[in-house]
Symmetry: none
Subunit: 259 residues, 2 copies
DNA sequence: GCATAGTTAATCAGATATGCGCATCATTCG
DNA sequence: CGAATGATGCGCATATCTGATTAACTATGC
């Protein structure tokens, strides 16, 4: 309630911070510190808070506006440097695939890693809505079927009602799904309704649903739900998966593979 | 107050890297290092990360854009063959497109050339069954809808019955078609029945059908017919088009554009 | 088939950024 | 007035990034 104008309130600084990052797209910590007249430590604390509420994205040395990375062909919310976990998750996923299965590969960098491992298995049939996955197989590999639909640039996937017409006609042995967030209460969530619709279509056609999600995805909730955890047959993640979530998944009867 | 004294953030460098590779198609590590002002080791690390997320492909000595790395010999041979004519044909085709049209781009190198010209026209809707066309627009461009279907490696297109479900639901202002051969007697022919089926589906939905074919295609006949010349509204070709065919097309009421 | 040149992966050292604990300062409330 | 609460800044330990060096690998020529 007090109006001491000597030092601006934290809320005011946060607002400025949001605007600065929004305007410049990308800024380093020291620039923000100089602009706001506070120390780098404070800026880091602020950035941590704002990242937790999803208003920006922290990167080494600074911060980025989330819509800036949306404009770029970044199709994963996390930095590409988190690759080793994704690679191990993909390798574990490979063991679930039978030699002549029909499998679905959702969009996301983890499924791209899996796709690369699948190139030698020519007897497989891979259904996907991901342009990146299609590129992986464009030199040869399994039989590939693309769902079609409208291209969503951010995720490099084809989504929307048109997808349904294709997916309706097929049966899938395993659907390997990615997600933005997954939690016990909210299930699996993603940012785009059309994306969620297409994910639902694929999962509805699959005998088994396997969620590929590194541990940072757990407890997160995005905008649109596309499934609940009891739909999941198996989840493959890394050892940093929170213990609480782990127990909840066990209770829900979900096989959990930690890599 | 802006100074370039501080080193740019890694994210900025990645963005430049993506743009450079997409622009040049293929680049050496040392060229990238010089352009970005960092060491070759850093470039290699960046390339590894970007490859892991499928945004480019590494090759010995450098990196390639994904749309060029799928070096299907036949497809690229066709690209190299008569490239200047194809470019001029594409430029002529561009003049037929209205600002908010819904157009179909068939597979083939000429349609890829046209697609490149269409990138600035964000208000267009482009429907295609060509992976190459999809890759052209993957960094932004018109609204893009991919038909889906089974991937035919040789032509890098998606074909077959599944395509029908998607195409059935839409209307196209102009369908820009490629072909293997076209003759007055046999009409337009191609090598693959599934490919032909998909071409028929697209043409059936289009108000106008524009054939993009360099002069070497005339008089040739391939395996499967997918249309007759009286279905064609306009044909765009080069000045070496045989005179006999030219007259026959005129008699059939086909507009002929020679470039 | 071997040798050579060029390229890459692995490793280490230096620089920079980050997270955490603690001290300081301001504000609030008893 | 004094203690409690909370925000801020500083210093240090840790983590991450970058560049250089070297060994292993690959492609090409002979």
């Amino acid at each position: 309630m007090s109006e001491t104008a000597t030092k601006e309130l934290a809320e005011v600084r946060w607002r400025k911070l949001r605007d600065l990052v929004h305007e410049h797209g990308i800024l380093r910590v020291e620039e923000l510190a100089a602009e706001l007249g506070v120390s780098a430590a404070t800026v880091r604390r602020d950035l941590a808070a704002l990242e937790a509420s999803g208003e920006l994205r922290r990167i080494h040395g600074g911060a980025m506006a989330p819509e800036r990375c949306a404009a770029e062909p970044l199709f994963d919310d996390k930095t590409a440097m988190a690759a080793p976990e994704k690679q191990r998750i993909a390798e574990a996923a490979l063991t679930l695939v039978g030699p002549r299965d029909v499998i679905y590969l959702d969009g996301g960098s983890t499924t791209v890693a899996l796709a690369r491992l699948l190139i030698p298995f020519k007897q497989l049939t891979v259904v996907t809505n991901s342009l990146r996955v299609a590129q992986v197989f464009s030199n040869g590999g399994p039989r590939m079927i693309l769902t079609g639909g409208e291209c969503r640039l951010l995720s490099q996937t084809f989504v929307g009602p048109l997808t349904r017409a294709v997916l309706d006609q097929m049966h899938l042995d395993i659907a390997f799904m990615g997600t933005i967030g997954v939690s016990v209460q909210q299930g699996m969530t993603t940012t785009d309704p059309a994306e969620a619709f297409t994910k639902e279509q694929a999962m509805a056609r699959a005998s088994r649903i396997v969620l590929l999600a590194d541990s940072t995805k757990f407890g997160k909730t995005s905008f649109v739900r596309f499934g609940t955890i009891d739909q999941i047959s198996t989840v493959i993640t890394d050892k940093q998966m929170p213990t609480a979530e782990r127990k909840a998944f066990q209770r829900a009867g979900v096989d959990t593979i930690l890599v």
